[in-house]
Structures are given as C-alpha cells and as structure tokens.
C-alpha cells in the first residue's frame, strides 16, 4: 500500500507518510494530515484482506501502589500487513515490550482491542509467538527438547516433533548442538535456539523483544542475515522491538517510532530498500538517521526523567 512513494527521496517519504497510521485525533508529534483520517476510516469499516494484525485504540494502564495509575500505552492504532516486517523503536520505558506482550496475549489491553486475522486476541495462541528479551529457554531440556517443546504441547507425536526440531535446528545452523544443554551455548547460539523453538510451532506472527540487544556486533550482524533469510523463506509477519535505530532500518519494511511515557505512535517510516540489506549500507544509515531525528527528542525526555529521579526531584 506504500508503493507509490517508493521512488521518492527519504525526506519526502517521511513528510508524506509520517503519520499514515496515526490515530485521527492527533497525538503529540503525529502528523495529522487529512488523508490519515480517510485511510483510518476506511480501514475501520472495511479491513483490507491482507491485514494480519490490527491494533485498534489500544490503551494499557498499570496500577502501581506508589505512583497510582501509570499509562504505559495510549491509543495505539496500527495495521500490520501479512508478511510485513515491522520494527518498533522507542526509548527505554516507552512500552515497547508491553505492546508485544499484548499482541502475544500474555497481557490484556485496558481499552481497545487487538485483532489477528480479524479475530480478537484474548490469550496466547499457536498463531503467534513471542521471543522474550531473556529468551526463557528451559535449562532442564536439551537444545532439541527445547525446540520440540511447543510441538509436544500441541500433542505432536514424538517422531514428528523430532524431525521438525531437526529441520529448524538445521535452519539456524545448530544441528551439531542438538544434545547440548542451554548453559553450554554462547549468547548467539541461545538466540538461535529461541528462534528455532519459536519457528518450530510454525506461527504466522513472530514477535521479537530486543532479541539481539545483548550480543556483540559481529554475532548480531550474522543473526540479522539469518533472520532476513528465514523470514524470506517462511513469509511470516514479524514485529521486532528494538532500541537500536540502525537495526530497525536494517531489518524493517516499516519503522514505527513510539514516544516516551506514555507510549504512543509518534511517526512511521517505510523503508523501501531492496534486500538483502546490510548494517553498513549508506541508505540504511540514511533511514536510520531520519528515524533517529524523530526519536532524539523522546530519548532526551527519557534521560531528563531519569536525571530528575536521580536528583530526588
């Protein structure tokens, strides 16, 4: 749906599409162009068939005994197409992870609703899987048993689970490590086990929460390549949360910027670059710098907030 502007310069793209999916009531920082309303209205009445995930006016409040009610997410409206790779960036504490937990069904929105294939999300489901920042690999199981876990829960026969796990371990180049325990693996290998474990249940949607944040740059680059390759083979929809703007521009078809506390959608950037891409490509860097410009203000807000807390303000 973004094809007409693919040839335009990035600055123009930004300006014309900055707020394409923003809510009709303009939130701070959103570009309230009239066209937004139209598209938004259209979507609401007649969801396009290729839309995979719809976030419709999603709010999430947390009640904390010391601070009262904290608004983590405000009025998130987002359509994600089937097979799209969407990266969500924002400063720490903007509710990125909360958003993923909501989509995974591990948490419920205070208001609004999330639909996947038009059906309301009410709990975790086999159609989507969240890869946690801390992975949550099971230390009492071997690598292969970890990958088989989701299949065994679906009551797949032992033999089928076995061969399926083999397949996905091969896909992430871990065939030789199937009988290892998790603590025997390096950080990058653990990431790949988590990826294989999630892919094995063949979800339509892969939700990833800063999966590569703790890795060194070389390992991360390799995993970017692998993720891009696997994505192109499986045609899954991926929502990838990160605080690394370059990573977002490297991977995403679209980059969504969230504001700092409370989190709302500030702006969105399509990334019309051909694949395979590379972290060091200049056009990736260009997109990244534009996203960064948008994000800088939010990061400063978050830093000020933390300084304020330091000084006991």
């Amino acid at each position: 749906m973004n094809t007409p502007i693919f040839s335009a310069s990035f600055r123009a793209i930004h300006e014309s599409l900055g707020g394409l999916h923003s809510p009709p009531q303009s939130s701070p920082g959103s570009h309230g162009l009239p066209v937004d309303l139209e598209i938004y209205g259209l979507r609401k009445s007649n969801p396009a068939p290729e839309v995979k995930i719809q976030l419709d006016g999603v709010h999430r409040d947390f009640h904390q005994p010391q601070n009262g009610c904290v608004q983590a997410l405000i009025d998130i409206n987002l359509d994600i197409r089937s097979g799209e790779f969407v990266c969500i960036v924002g400063p720490s504490g903007c509710g990125k992870s909360t958003l993923l937990h909501l989509m995974a069904g591990l948490d419920q929105p205070t208001r609004g609703e999330i639909r996947i294939d038009g059906r309301r999300v009410e709990g975790p489901g086999p159609d989507r899987i969240l890869i946690f920042q801390d992975l949550g690999l099971f230390p009492w199981l071997t690598v292969r048993q970890n990958v088989e876990f989701g299949l065994r829960m679906k009551r797949t026969s032992r033999r089928d689970a076995h061969s399926c796990a083999r397949h996905y371990l091969k896909l992430v180049h871990l065939s030789h490590f199937e009988n290892y325990y998790i603590h025997q693996l390096s950080g990058g290998m653990r990431q790949r086990v988590a990826l294989a474990r999630s892919l094995a249940i063949q979800p339509d949607v892969l939700l990833m929460d800063e999966p590569f944040a703790a890795l060194d740059a070389q390992t991360r680059d390799l995993l970017h390549d692998e993720l891009e390759r696997i994505w192109s083979e499986t045609a899954q929809t991926i929502i990838f949360v990160t605080h690394n703007v370059r990573e977002a521009a490297r991977l995403g078809d679209r980059v969504v910027v969230l504001t700092f506390r409370p989190g709302r959608i500030k702006s969105q950037f399509p990334v019309p670059l051909s694949r395979p891409r590379h972290m060091e490509h200049t056009n990736v860097a260009m997109v990244a710098s534009q996203v960064m410009e948008e994000l800088r203000e939010e990061i400063q807000k978050s830093v000020r907030m933390e300084y304020g807390n330091e000084n006991g303000a």
């Binding site: 975790p124 946690f132 992975l135 009492w140 829960m153 998790i182």
Partner: protein, 253 residues
C-alpha cells in the same frame, strides 16, 4: 583420587587413635569399645542375619513412609504455592509445626494406632512431610516468571504447564528438599524404633544397651551412619549431579 587417598588416611589415623585410647585402658572395656570388637560385632550381626533383618525392616518402613511423605509433600507444596488462602493459613501452620521434633508425634500415634507399624510410619511421614512441603513451595515460588510465560507462549496450559514447566523448573529446590526430607525421615524412623519393640535398626541399638554390649551399640550406630551416607551418595548425589550438569550450576562445595 587425591580426595579418596586423604579420606582413607584420615579414617585410618582415626581408627589408630581409637585403638590406642582403648589399649591405654583408661576406661573399662564394657564402657569403651575397641575397633576390633565393633568389627567382630558387625560380622556376627551379619552372619546370624539379625543385622540384615534389621536393615530390611527399617528400609521397608523408610520406603513406605518417605514415599508417602514425598507424594503428600509435593501435593501440599503445590497447594500452598498456588493458593493464597492456603498459603496464609495452612502454610503458616506448616512452618510452625516444623519446630516440633518428629518424635513428639509418637505418643499421639501410639494412642491412635496402637503399638504397630502404622504408628511408626506416621512418625516417619510427619518427620519428613513438612520439609518436603516447604521446599516444594519455595521451589515453585522461585521459578522465574519468564519460564511460565515462555511455557504459556508455547502453548502449555494448566496441568501441562505445571508438569512440563513449573515442576522441572523448581527441581533444584525440590531435589534438596527431598534429600533433606530423606534425612529427617531416617532420623525419625531410628528414634521411633528405639522407643518401642519393633525389630528394625533402632531396636537393635536398644538391644545392645539391654545386653550391656557396647560393641553392638557402636556397630549399629556405624551401620545407621553408613546407610545414611550410602543412600545420599548413591541416590541423591546422582540426582543433584544430573541437575547441575543440565543447568550448568556449580557443585555446592
């Protein structure tokens, strides 16, 4: 290897000192046994099968009583870990009851069941049930939230989530609780057996006293220690080692 050597030499020196003190004849031989006397007593006990029978009877009670308390303790721990009401009420009671030495249950058990097998099983169960319960509860509660979230995320629900995620995730705690429970059960059993006539190792110990045979007393004591050590080394150590190997935990020592 080096450890085995130092342990062997330690026990050898210990036996030598023991023998030397005995030979000094500071105390009369019916008060202070010699290593050789204990050895003879052990040999005699095993050749006339009294020790074998004692071990057999005691182990049967252990397997029954401990098995029962492991099952009940895990079930009770599950209840306490998952239900706030039971945690606040029964959970507190369990903790306070643990301050009661298990032998204190014996008079009650005798009044309830009479001088029989049931009374002694009751004492064994009461001796180890509470520590298994408490360790199951803490084990389940200390499972990092990420595991249950990952499990739910991968499609585990209800009992599946419990048996495939929560229980294995709390295994390190659970294993040490079960091990402690075994030690408590063993102590409760021997003390219980000493109080009334029921065959078993505790009974053999008291028989030694009644016969004024200090060698038998010490021989049975040695037997009790060795059996306790062997079950620990052959069973619980292996389980712990397997957990440590899988989880990549460092051995405690």
């Amino acid at each position: 290897m080096k450890m085995a050597l130092s342990q062997a030499s330690f026990y050898f020196v210990l036996l030598c000192i023991w023998q030397a003190i005995a030979q000094a004849k500071i105390w009369p031989p019916y008060l202070f046994p010699t290593p050789l006397g204990v050895w003879d007593s052990l040999r005699a006990g095993f050749t006339d099968h009294t020790f074998w029978m004692g071990i057999g009877v005691s182990m049967k009670r252990m397997v029954l009583g401990y098995g029962l308390s492991a099952i009940l303790g895990i079930a009770l721990g599950m209840l306490l870990a998952t239900n706030k009401f039971w945690e606040d009420t029964l959970g507190r009671l369990v903790v306070s009851l643990q301050s009661l030495p298990s032998l204190c249950w014996l008079p009650l058990a005798i009044l309830w069941f009479g001088l029989n097998e049931k009374a002694i099983l009751f004492v064994v169960v009461m001796g180890s049930l509470l520590s298994v319960t408490i360790s199951t509860e803490t084990g389940l509660k200390s499972v990092p939230r990420i595991y249950s979230m990952a499990g739910r995320n991968l499609g585990a629900r209800g009992l599946g989530l419990f048996f495939h995620v929560l229980l294995p995730a709390s295994l390190p705690h659970l294993a040490s609780g079960l091990k402690q429970g075994w030690a408590f059960a063993w102590r409760s059993l021997i003390s219980g057996e000493m109080i009334f006539v029921t065959l078993g190792l505790g009974q053999l110990l008291m028989m030694g006293r009644d016969l004024n045979d200090i060698n038998q007393v010490v021989a049975v004591m040695v037997l009790i220690v060795v059996i306790g050590f062997l079950t620990d080394a052959l069973f619980f150590r292996l389980i712990e080692a397997s957990i440590q190997r899988k989880w990549g935990l460092k051995p405690a020592s």
